[in-house]
Symmetry: C2
Subunit: 219 residues, 2 copies
DNA sequence: GTTAGCATGTAAGGAGTTACATGATTTT
DNA sequence: AAAATCATGTAACTCCTTACATGCTAAC
């Protein structure tokens, strides 16, 4: 998830780690930030995988042997996404299985980079998220209907607020889905996203052949 | 957090692991459940620490040597909280620092067991949570005010929905705090002063008034 | 000239997950 | 008797956090 978000941000412009973290916090809505202890290792992995390159200030010839780097080199390191990185990002962005919407946090990140996601994938993720949240809503409703006497007022309040939040999310998702459908009608599907050179329908690879995608597509 | 929730549930009645997991899922509002892979090790730790005892079905004399336990003993294992467990739980329930409210998930669990939490601690946690969420709200507001042009419509929607949620949470918390204050006025605890080391219901083992109903709740 | 904010990194560890392995009981 | 559901547990692993360690640069 972190790596996806990093690649997504670097797609917009090269950045150094510190800046990346601030942007990340903003994109995730201040809801959750990440620590440097996970950011820098992630960048390191992305670099090792060839998904990003680093523009380092001085190539290392400057430092004499009598000043050995204690923890590593210092100075700004600007990270830049590579062609492989973009490809990898779009592969990840093309996935529309449950991982993309079952977890609220991950769904948020996916949504934040919907700009780089194909229209059909966007719709599948939004609908998947809606199903997930609707199921949660039904669970909460059932629980509230059943258990008035079993729980105390705090638990009840927690569930009431939970139900309220989940209900609002369902309505919000319904709006987003509606807008997607309207936009799809207006843009006759062959270029739903000007940002992305479409090679095909988001790639079949995705997540699982067993994933039930046999659902009626509303027009 | 898991261990706190387990002790909280076992306070209400003894249970076996499977049942515990279902209850846990319900208390946490179906928002998130836990897997057996974390539940059973947690129970094991609590047992090792002496916070729970196990009522095992057959003490082992029944099984002949020619049927060796392959992965361990089978059959329902009922867990029951001990006096030390109750003490430990109340120690945890008495904490009102940032850990109790900075993370939404943890806050939810704490709230779910407010019944076993002293009134002054409840208030501090609710107020702490409100401050945290208000700060989040301000962050989001600022971000939305600043960045209309920098972000695309999806990011904007995400932030808008986030702001909405956070705003509702602040209002919800304000209501809960109000109710706490009203209840505190109506139940004239002889020392409303928060500096006093309150041990209401949190007393060591035997002396406690029992976990049934901490104190009479006038409605 | 020192404080505050910018900037990069490592090591240890917490808190959970999935995948696996097994068996008991109830329903069909 | 097969299938579903109840029930318990381990091992490997993921993903992230905290605490630590270091140093640069601008403002006061």
């Amino acid at each position: 998830m972190l790596e996806f978000a990093i690649l997504g941000l670097l797609q917009q412009s090269p950045m150094h780690g510190y800046e990346l973290r601030k942007q990340l916090a903003q994109v995730l809505g201040g809801l959750r930030s990440i620590s440097y202890g996970s950011l820098y290792p992630a960048l390191k992995r992305l670099h090792a995988a060839g998904y990003v390159t680093t523009d380092e200030p001085a190539p290392g010839a400057l430092l004499p042997a009598d000043a050995p780097p204690l923890t590593g080199r210092r100075g700004k390191v600007v990270y830049r996404i590579t062609a492989e990185g973009k490809e990898h990002f779009h592969e990840l962005a093309g996935r529309s299985g449950p991982e993309a919407y079952d977890d609220g946090g991950l769904f948020g990140v996916r949504l934040a980079f919907f700009r780089h996601t194909a229209a059909d994938v966007r719709l599948r993720i939004l609908e998947g998220r809606r199903r997930t949240v609707e199921r949660q809503r039904e669970g909460l409703r059932a629980s509230l209907a059943r258990t008035r006497e079993r729980f105390d007022r705090y638990t009840l309040e927690l569930q009431r607020h939970g139900l309220d939040s989940v209900d609002r999310e369902v309505r919000w998702l319904a709006e987003l889905i509606d807008r997607e459908l309207v936009d799809t009608e207006r843009t006759p599907t062959d270029h739903p996203d000007p940002d992305r050179p479409r090679d095909d329908g988001a790639g079949p690879a995705g997540t699982g052949p067993g994933e039930g995608t046999g659902r009626p597509r509303p027009t």
